[in-house]
């Protein structure tokens, strides 16, 4: 095992975020507002799940666990053992909420992967480069879609979604408890607080460019005490959903 417990905890938080946001995005398969968008959004979901798989495999390899255990590790942990943030977990029934969440999440995700670009672990650094290439498409998609909606009569809906999701989005930057060790070891180059500051700048910049007037009420640190260990309402139902197929035949080999 070459990863420190701190590094494992940190990567697990990113992996679980990618897993949950990917799973939630896939809820739109076949339901996107039009065919081209349906395909693009589901591609983004698939990319996020791909990032999660890359990180889960890394964690399994490091622990000396066979990769056949990936499904069990990804899907069958106790809720308290997940480290995902609430923004990635919650159910967004409204397309406008899902689109805004995608933008808020990917703005942060891009910065989080960048912080791992020169990671002391070469596998993590390689994953970071791959993820960043994919993120450039995710961000272009969010920018193009939202910038156009912002200038239509749907802008009020977008603003309402931003105001609803923004307080939850700050939970993205609830660092895992071990983060200070990671910085000291040089595993990451930026703290969650650094990333959060860059993220707020990027978000405010987007809003200004789109000419959207939004009150950003919640400040940093609102969820800090939870340190990603408490699951959001609806997590149990989400996990049950994800386990539906596995539960049909728990010993089947895929």
């Amino acid at each position: 095992m070459s990863l420190t417990p701190a590094a494992r905890e940190y990567l697990l938080a990113l992996a679980d975020d990618e897993h949950m946001i990917g799973a939630r995005h896939t809820n739109w398969i076949g339901l996107g507002p039009f065919l081209e968008e349906d395909l693009a959004f589901c591609s983004i979901a698939q990319d996020e799940l791909g990032h999660a798989i890359g990180l889960y495999e890394l964690l399994l390899d490091d622990a000396g666990t066979d990769r056949t255990q990936l499904d069990a590790f990804a899907l069958q942990r106790a809720p308290g053992d997940y480290r995902s943030c609430w923004l990635a977990e919650i159910k967004c029934l409204d397309w406008s909420d899902s689109l805004v969440r995608h933008w808020l999440y990917d703005r942060a995700e891009d910065l989080r992967w960048k912080a791992l670009e020169s990671c002391t672990d070469p596998v993590v650094a390689a994953l970071s480069l791959r993820a960043q290439r994919e993120e450039s498409f995710h961000l272009a998609h969010a920018e193009q879609f939202l910038s156009r909606l912002a200038s239509t009569d749907q802008s009020a809906r977008i603003v309402a979604s931003i105001e609803r999701l923004m307080p939850i989005a700050f939970g993205l930057f609830d660092s895992v408890a071990t983060e200070p060790d990671m910085l000291a070891e040089g595993f990451i180059t930026q703290s969650s607080a650094d990333i959060e500051a860059l993220w707020i700048d990027a978000i405010l910049d987007d809003l200004k460019r789109w000419d959207l007037d939004v009150d950003i009420v919640a400040g940093p640190g609102q969820f800090n005490e939870q340190r990603r260990t408490v699951r959001s309402d609806g997590f149990d139902a989400l996990q049950a959903d994800l386990l539906k197929v596995i539960s049909l035949d728990p010993i089947a080999v895929w």
Binding site: E36, A40, S43
Partner: protein
């Protein structure tokens, strides 16, 4: 929404080929969507998009006339038959 025709070219000497079409609000979004609708498995290494409104369309009636000109179809079979005939007569 506007319709765009997508053309893909594989790496190497192949020509651009029509891959299909898509609908998008404007050219920038069309290029963004085409990446996933027609190149999600890297089917091409280069891509063209053409606004359907910019495609020049020929009149099918004017084209159909040429279907009545069998003398323009030369598959070489008459020449081959003649050469065979010549060979046989020499033998």
């Amino acid at each position: 929404m506007n319709r765009y025709e997508v053309f893909l070219k594989k790496l190497g000497r192949d020509e651009f080929r029509h891959a299909g079409s898509l609908d998008a609000a404007d050219p920038e979004m069309a290029v963004m969507y085409a990446r996933e609708t027609h190149n999600r498995r890297a089917e091409g290494s280069e891509m063209w998009l053409v606004d359907r409104r910019h495609v020049l369309v020929a009149d099918p009636e004017s084209m159909a006339v040429n279907d009545q000109k069998p003398h323009r179809h030369n598959d070489g079979s008459r020449v081959a038959a003649r050469r065979k005939e010549n060979r046989n007569s020499e033998a």
